[in-house]
């Protein structure tokens, strides 16, 4: 069973619907205990980093995520979930969960014709092979909606990149954690293949710490 973390931030049901379609069992929970006993965890989210962190802390989910990560439960972050898995976000200037050391800066683009948020379909380039990304083909595109992007301190944690004037990390990961800036649940068949790969990933043959 995959536990989908409920912290009042957006697209929980979209993720649930995609997993239902793939016939992958999942449930939505805000209970720290249920997270720790889950086989896998998806940490989704749309919204504002600082307010999301407040709710996570109130519900004791911040600590539960850390414990789950330390015990090796495979975790997948999506969008805001990916951003606040880092140690800090510039959105609201907040400390975050900190499973990966790093920050979330806002896009600062020279070309004024480029719009923020970076919204729509874009290609990614896998820079480090990973079991969850094994289905990604060079022509695949994924659906992004974001104004901030994840920037791990250690380049080793970058699994795939995207380019929007500047090259930024589109997928990051470390040990049993993998996290996408785009929305696999809204990225058509290419996105569903990523969710499917996560549902069978043991979290072990990923990257070591």
């Amino acid at each position: 069973m995959i536990a989908i973390v409920d912290y009042g931030a957006g697209n929980l049901t979209s993720v649930k619907r995609a997993l239902d379609y793939l016939e992958i069992e999942s449930f939505i929970t805000a209970d720290p205990g249920e997270l720790l006993s889950a086989e896998r965890i998806i940490f989704p989210g749309v919204g504002h980093a600082a307010s999301a962190m407040r709710i996570l802390n109130q519900r004791g989910l911040h600590t539960a995520l850390k414990e789950a990560f330390n015990s090796g439960i495979p975790i997948m972050g999506i969008c805001l979930g990916t951003q606040i898995i880092l140690s800090h976000s510039d959105e609201g200037g907040t400390g975050c969960v900190g499973l990966i050391e790093g920050n979330c800066p806002k896009f600062c683009l020279k070309d004024k014709r480029l719009k923020i948020p970076h919204m729509g379909w874009d290609s990614i380039k896998v820079v480090k092979e990973h079991p969850v990304l094994k289905s990604v083909k060079p022509e695949d595109e994924f659906y992004f909606v974001h104004s901030y992007y994840p920037q791990p301190s250690d380049r080793e944690s970058v699994l795939a990149e995207c380019e929007y004037e500047t090259v930024f990390p589109a997928v990051i990961g470390r040990s049993s954690l993998v996290a996408t800036q785009f929305h696999p649940e809204k990225s058509g068949p290419a996105g569903l293949r990523i969710l499917e790969a996560f549902s069978t990933w043991d979290g072990l043959d990923g990257l070591t710490c």
Binding site: D122, Y164, G188
Partner: protein, 258 residues
């Protein structure tokens, strides 16, 4: 770099897929979910479901359509028509729509844009504007006026001013629908699309008049649009999503082909 988006608009009346020509004649042409699923499989980037159900008694049917779409189709889609309050917007969002499409209700009550944006986030609010070409005047300096009810009601609001106001109030995207071009299949209103795209910093979706892939190319290049809305080109089987995208790619436009 982002791909240009191809968005299909499906008018839904009492749960059926309908097609209107210049908002006047309307006929039922099939089932919206089956049609949407076919476009999804062919590689459409996004969908818009526009509820044109006349009777408010039948409004809940659209919610059933939205739920069904959301459980089968995994790309962003928006819902418009009949959304008058934030509660209406929240309801379609919970049913699985990524975005809401505001049109007449936003003209009647512009604060609805602010409220929807605060509740759902700017990325979830699409302001759809119906625009009529008129002689330029002191009130309508751009020569483009916002109209409602398919062009029957003039509002006296300048389209450029409304686009900027919509952005200011928290809309995340604009649909620019030319009433003059709608249903003609003679091409998008390029001048209008470009004027608005150059005035705002949010994505602009060209709408009304698309009949051939060349028209889409023109809107995306000369018209400075980020996306194009198409309806009858697909609904009547004249083109497939794949054909259109391959054409655009052959002319150097970045589009998603999977």
């Amino acid at each position: 770099m982002l791909s240009k988006r191809l968005i299909s608009c499906l008018d839904v009346r009492n749960g059926n897929l309908a097609k209107s020509v210049k908002f006047v004649e309307t006929r039922d042409i099939g089932d919206p979910v089956t049609t949407a699923q076919r476009y999804y499989e062919e590689g459409i980037d996004e969908l818009v479901f526009y509820d044109i159900t006349a009777s408010s008694d039948n409004r809940n049917i659209i919610i059933d359509v939205v739920s069904e779409v959301a459980s089968k189709i995994f790309i962003p889609f928006s819902v418009g028509g009949g959304l008058r309050t934030v509660e209406d917007c929240t309801r379609v969002r919970l049913a699985g729509a990524e975005k809401v499409n505001l049109n007449t209700a936003a003209v009647a009550c512009p604060d609805l844009i602010n409220q929807a944006s605060a509740a759902l986030g700017a990325q979830a609010v699409v302001l759809s504007m119906d625009v009529l070409s008129v002689p330029a005047s002191a009130q309508i300096p751009s020569g483009y006026e916002i109209v409602t009810h398919g062009g029957r009601n003039r509002t006296g609001i300048d389209a450029i001013r409304w686009a900027l106001e919509g952005q200011e109030r928290g809309a995340g995207e604009l649909v620019v629908n030319s009433i003059d071009a709608d249903g003609t299949k003679q091409g998008y209103e390029i001048k209008l699309t470009r004027k608005i795209a150059d005035s705002v910093s949010i994505p602009v979706i060209a709408s009304g008049g698309g009949g051939k892939p060349e028209h889409l190319y023109d809107a995306l290049t000369e018209g400075h649009a980020d996306a194009v809305l198409i309806a009858s080109m697909l609904h009547f089987g004249e083109y497939t999503v794949k054909q259109i995208k391959e054409y655009l790619r052959s002319r150097g436009i970045k589009v998603r082909i999977s």
